[in-house]
């Protein structure tokens, strides 16, 4: 689904990080200091709760997010993912650690600066939409603009534009209660987009929607993200969703990241049994790129012959399921890179092998 390869976002630090999180912890309850100390020593969440009465929701987490990428945090309820995302705009105060946004440490930012950041840079979409029932759809979308101090006419124009971009142009004067869940979440998204944010925090935005609507919304989100190049931190409890949307995915458990990596890494090389257990039921055809199925070393000469012979070609970054229609028995498909240069080939057997969760791949 992501046909434009993202700017090389391996964590080399070569380019500016939009978000850099270092050693962030969040502890609820008294004895926070003691609890963080014990957590650093590796004591488990439950043992710390029993010993100090404090709940370690987020435990010494570090990661960074490049501009324009979708970073997904996946975890079950209670894993601390919602708390973590709330630390990023300080709806929750981190108990320890630093969070830098475009190089600015927001943990140290005073209240005034924080409000400015929330108005200008970071905005949020909520699981249960969090729309004001006493305001019309347009007034809801205008909310952040009103907080910015914009006049009525200007707000309204921007709100209508944002509503158009999520396909709800005709609904401006209705009330949220008149809308379906999917439409309400579009309003939530429009409210965030109306601010032209650089960073969008999404806390399980599609979890309350039914599966078909959810799939549509995922597609639309990718579409919007391609258009606006917004940096998105996306929280979900659904690994399929995480792998479909994420440029990078973090699997969270008990306040820690069990694994961070590209979707294909998570599927093909799960870091531990916990991650592996999740990856068992995912739809590999949608998550893995065609490139990951390349098994046989083929010389440039051989590939040229295949192409001359009329073999089908596919770009290596496309999801694997798109190759199903192209591959025929004994007739390999040539995999090309973004520039159209052949980089290898896949056969029906290779594809079956990857879908079945077969051998490891290094060519991702």
């Amino acid at each position: 689904m992501q046909d434009t390869p993202k700017a090389a976002s391996s964590n080399t630090g070569a380019q500016a990080k939009r978000i850099a999180v270092r050693g962030v912890s969040k502890v609820f309850g008294a004895n926070g200091e003691a609890a963080i100390g014990l957590a650093r020593q590796g004591m488990s969440k439950n043992d710390i709760l029993a010993k100090t009465g404090a709940v370690v929701a987020v435990n010494d987490i570090s990661f960074s997010v490049d501009a324009g990428e979708i970073f997904v945090v996946m975890g079950l309820s209670g894993s601390g993912k919602s708390t973590l995302v709330r630390c990023l705009n300080r709806l929750q105060e981190p108990s320890a650690g630093t969070i830098e946004i475009d190089g600015e440490d927001i943990v140290a930012a005073p209240e005034e600066r924080l409000r400015a950041l929330r108005l200008e840079k970071i905005t949020m979409v909520f699981q249960h939409f969090a729309l004001l029932p006493h305001r019309t759809v347009a007034e809801n979308v205008e909310y952040g603009l009103k907080m910015r101090g914009l006049g009525k006419a200007e707000r309204n124009a921007k709100a209508l534009k944002a509503l158009d971009s999520v396909g709800l142009g005709g609904w401006a004067d209705r009330y949220p209660a008149n809308l379906s869940g999917g439409m309400q979440q579009r309003v939530g998204l429009a409210r965030a987009l109306a601010l032209d944010p650089e960073i969008l925090l999404m806390d399980e935005p599609f979890s309350a929607l039914d599966p078909l609507i959810r799939r549509d919304m995922q597609g639309e989100l990718l579409e919007l993200q391609r258009r606006y190049r917004t940096t998105i931190i996306f929280i979900t409890h659904d690994l399929n969703e995480a792998l479909t949307l994420g440029d990078h995915v973090a699997v969270m458990k008990d306040g820690r990241f069990a694994q961070v990596g590209r979707p294909a890494d998570i599927v093909l090389q799960p870091a531990d049994d916990y991650v592996a257990a999740f990856t068992r039921d995912i739809d590999r055809g949608r998550v893995l790129p065609v490139r990951s199925a390349i098994r046989q070393v083929a010389s440039a000469e051989a590939l040229r012959v295949l192409l001359a012979d009329g073999a089908a070609t596919i770009e290596g970054a496309r999801p694997l399921h798109e190759v199903f229609g192209l591959v025929a028995a004994n007739r390999p498909v040539v995999v090309v890179d973004a520039a159209g240069q052949p980089e290898g080939m896949v056969t029906a057997a290779d594809i079956t092998n990857v879908l079945a969760g077969g051998s490891q791949s290094e060519g991702v």
Binding site: R118, M124, A130, H134, T136, R174
Partner: protein, 305 residues
């Protein structure tokens, strides 16, 4: 036999009773602390408190008595119709005609002025107190026992110090009414604000709102129905104080009932009571409809005619 044995037992165990050694003069202490200390010390403060109440009360009362009956009737019926629909408007029309016919129009207006004054001050004090309680658990913990005392202490108990501080008359009666009628408004304001969905308040913060903006844009509008219920309850309690207010010099319908009681004139007391009940029904229906009207607006549904 057994009664002898019992009284013997009682005599033997009496030494364990505090009253065996004398009576604690708590009543004297209260009398002393209120009469000789609290009243003189706080008299200037309470006198200052008295002033705005007296102003509003006098103004309202002279206004209500100056407006011709027919004009007020039309205004009241119109207001009832707009707020609560045709049924309540008809009821208001008949009730007000009846009140004038039985010769209690002036008393009704005096009571109305008293009630409205008390409720206005309840709103001025109660809603901010409720907001403060909703925003801080510590404030709530301080306010709650005060409200408990206000609600459970018999009003006769605080009539005495009120008379000491303010003398007798309409203003002290309004003050007693405020004390009696205030608690539900504070409680329901607090409750209404706390009941606002946490995610909505979070959204307010996430979109850069200050606490004050969250209060005005999100919490108060969504708590309005509950707050209006509080206003309604306060109004009803204030009306129920009309007769007790008459004990310390208030006029109006309460005085009619009280005079009827003194003369054992059940008819006179009866018409006073009828007046209070009719007023209560009108005010209740209208204020309830006002609260529901806000709910109607929030779902964009049509209001009932």
């Amino acid at each position: 036999m057994s009664s002898d044995a019992l009284s013997g037992l009682q005599a033997a165990t009496d030494i364990a009773r505090p009253s065996h050694y004398g009576t604690l003069p708590l009543d004297d202490w209260i009398q002393w602390s209120v009469k000789d200390w609290l009243v003189p010390a706080l008299r200037p403060f309470f006198r200052a408190l008295q002033w705005p109440i007296a102003q509003l009360l006098d103004g309202l009362q002279s206004l209500l008595l100056a407006i011709p009956f027919v004009v007020l009737l039309v205004l009241a019926v119109f207001a009832a119709w707009r707020a609560a629909g045709r049924g309540v408007a008809v009821f208001t029309f008949i009730s007000l005609l009846l009140l004038d016919w039985i010769g209690l129009w002036k008393e009704t207006m005096i009571t109305l002025a008293m009630i409205v004054t008390a409720v206005v001050f309840c709103i001025v004090v109660g809603i901010p107190a409720g907001i403060a309680a909703a925003r801080s658990d510590r404030t709530a913990a301080v306010i709650r026992p005060i409200l408990d005392v206000m609600q459970t202490i018999p009003s006769f108990v605080y009539l005495v110090p009120i008379v000491m501080l303010f003398g007798v008359g309409m203003v002290p009666a309004v003050i007693a009414t405020i004390i009696f009628a205030l608690p539900p408004l504070v409680r329901l304001t607090n409750l209404g604000i706390r009941q606002v969905q946490g995610e909505l308040v979070e959204a307010g913060r996430a979109f850069g709102s200050t606490p004050r903006q969250i209060l005005w844009e999100i919490q108060l509008p969504l708590a309005l129905r509950t707050i209006m219920t509080g206003v309604n309850q306060t109004l009803m309690l204030a009306l129920s104080m009309a007769v007790i207010g008459a004990l310390i010099g208030a006029g109006g319908l309460g005085l009619t009932v009280y005079t009827g009681l003194g003369r054992l004139d059940v008819g006179y007391a009866g018409i006073g009571g009828l007046g209070i009940v009719l007023m209560a029904i009108i005010l209740d229906r209208v204020t309830q409809a006002l609260g529901d009207g806000h709910k109607g607006a929030s779902t964009s549904g049509g209001k009932e005619g």
